[in-house]
Amino acid sequence: MRFQKNCKAELISKAVMKQFVLCFICLAVFSCQKQYYVNKIEGERLEINRDLESDSTVDAFIAPYRKHLNASLDSIISFAPATYSKKDGDLNTAIGNLMADAVYQECNPIFKKRYNKTIDFVLLNHGGIRAEIPKGPVTLRTAYEVMPFENAVVIVGLKADAILKMVEYLSEVKRAHPLSKQINITFNSSYELEQLTIKGAPLDMDKTYYVATNDYLYNGGDKMVFFKPNEGVFDVDYKIRNVLIDHFKKIDTLRPKIDDRFIRKVLK
């Protein structure tokens, strides 16, 4: 888009330059305030890339922070005998099972202590696994890469109808959303529910189930709208990433496995 400058005005102003200049001085003397107006604007976007030199003072200032940070992030907290990726598995993955079970194990004692209740199972989201756990040493950096976000665990009280809505949701999205081992969901080959048990028992229509998830999903993230309305929401002030870090620190070697907690039967 272009607006052409008014050239006529410029010619006129040249012709009466003397008067103009004098008038202007008078104006400046009496008002001491000169008015300016914008007659041209230029805009551009500059890419920050390798072609630019780094400011050495700034770089030197960052260096000790970077050094301390990297030393800490590279500290080894566990070991992975294989690479675990969220792509490996149909409706449950080793890495997803590891995360959901870690949330159960680390948060249930706090939930019990604080609210005198027990978590029934954990549901996280497949999209929330942001990186794989590579084979070899597991470091703090691994935990930051798997879970770069600040999401915290929340525990939501749900009646059976909401649990059924959750199962319906899972059958529609057909994704390996991580579930902890306390729940078992079996679909047939066309994603219809065949079996549902929680802690080994069938769904109890009168019971309130305590489902641990994260604040993002509780607030309707990934279209998980079944968390509202509910029978109460409980905080344990625990970020998912910190759950992972604390969990990894307790285990010498991670041995997560794909199992049958959440499966669909495929016709042979």
Partner: protein
């Protein structure tokens, strides 16, 4: 030319001597002024450049490179303002480890003039933000967050007027609605006021009362919401206000290859710009100003 010299000299030795340098300056300089506005948004604690294996962002970004570029631009034109549109915090372990201290210290080294507050700047709570303020040698501007019942009271201004080469540049800040986006325990009693009404007020105050030559809105509202047109956004503010020259946006991580030109409420052009996120780009807008009254029918060249 001779006549002009004569006028200059005679004036310098008579009527205007009492004004010192001012009279001389008025006549010798071409009187055209250039103001450069540099801006970033949603840097999200990205201090180091992305590594070589980081997909589409590989080898881009980095504060030390940005510092060198800004320095070059300032040497070219000292009449430069450096602004940030919020979400300084959160996104790399630098934030988790140091709580935003390094981000603010580096922005101070780069001589940022002002920033507005993004939703992620509340990630360590309002106390977490307050705690890092001593490291920030630049202004925090927000006209539509009322902090009066919080610990941030007195630490944030609605606007600031910067004077560069005698040009008065009014900059005000706008923040996004926090309810539903940020945990209430984080932002506490921060009150969110209607950004459109505030923007209209701010533009009027800065133009009419404070006699600003340029007005810049530093916004963390987001560029545009296609499915929720009524939600306050930079495009909505641009269309429904007057006297704002430039809206620098954030929040939506919108990578605009060039500023968008919008017709404002009185059919005059206003620029809206946003440079994505993570310090991958630096936005640069140059305003050229001439003395005199604004012509009735606006003739302005915008090259973007």
């Amino acid at each position: 030319m001779k006549r002009r010299d004569f006028i200059k000299q005679s004036l310098a030795t008579s009527a205007l001597t009492s004004l010192g340098g001012l009279g001389f300056d008025l006549l010798t300089a071409s009187n055209k002024k250039k103001i450069t506005i540099l801006h970033t948004n949603d840097v999200h604690s990205h201090i180091d450049p992305f590594g070589p294996n980081d997909g589409r962002n590989a080898n881009k970004g980095g504060v030390a490179r940005r510092a060198a570029l800004i320095d070059t631009i300032r040497q070219e034109n000292p009449n430069t303002l450096l602004l940030d549109a919020g979400d300084i915090f959160q996104g790399t372990p630098y934030f988790n480890y140091y709580g935003g201290e390094l981000e603010f210290k580096l922005m101070s080294m780069l001589k940022y003039d002002a920033a507005t507050i993004g939703n992620h700047d509340f990630d360590n709570g309002i106390e977490g933000l307050l705690k890092q303020l001593p490291h920030a040698k630049f202004d925090f501007l927000s006209a539509n967050y009322d902090f009066s019942n919080t610990v941030m009271d007195g630490h944030v201004k609605p606007y600031e007027i910067f004077v560069k080469d005698n040009i008065r540049i009014g900059v005000f800040g706008l923040g996004i609605e926090l309810n539903g986006l940020v945990d209430k325990r984080m932002y506490k009693e921060t009150k969110y006021l209607n950004p459109l009404e505030i923007a209209q007020d701010m533009a009027r105050i800065l133009k009419q009362e404070k006699k600003c030559d340029l007005i810049i809105c530093l916004s963390h509202l987001g560029y545009d919401y296609k499915n929720r047109k009524e939600k306050p956004s930079d495009l909505n503010i641009a269309k429904s206000t007057q006297d704002i020259d430039l809206i620098i946006g954030g929040h939506t991580h919108t990578f605009l290859p060039k500023p968008t030109i919008i017709k404002n409420a009185i059919d005059k052009p206003v620029l809206v710009n946003q440079v994505g996120a993570y310090g991958l780009y630096l936005g640069k807008i140059d305003f050229y100003l001439s003395p005199g009254q604004q012509p009735k029918s606006e003739h302005k060249t915008i090259l973007v």
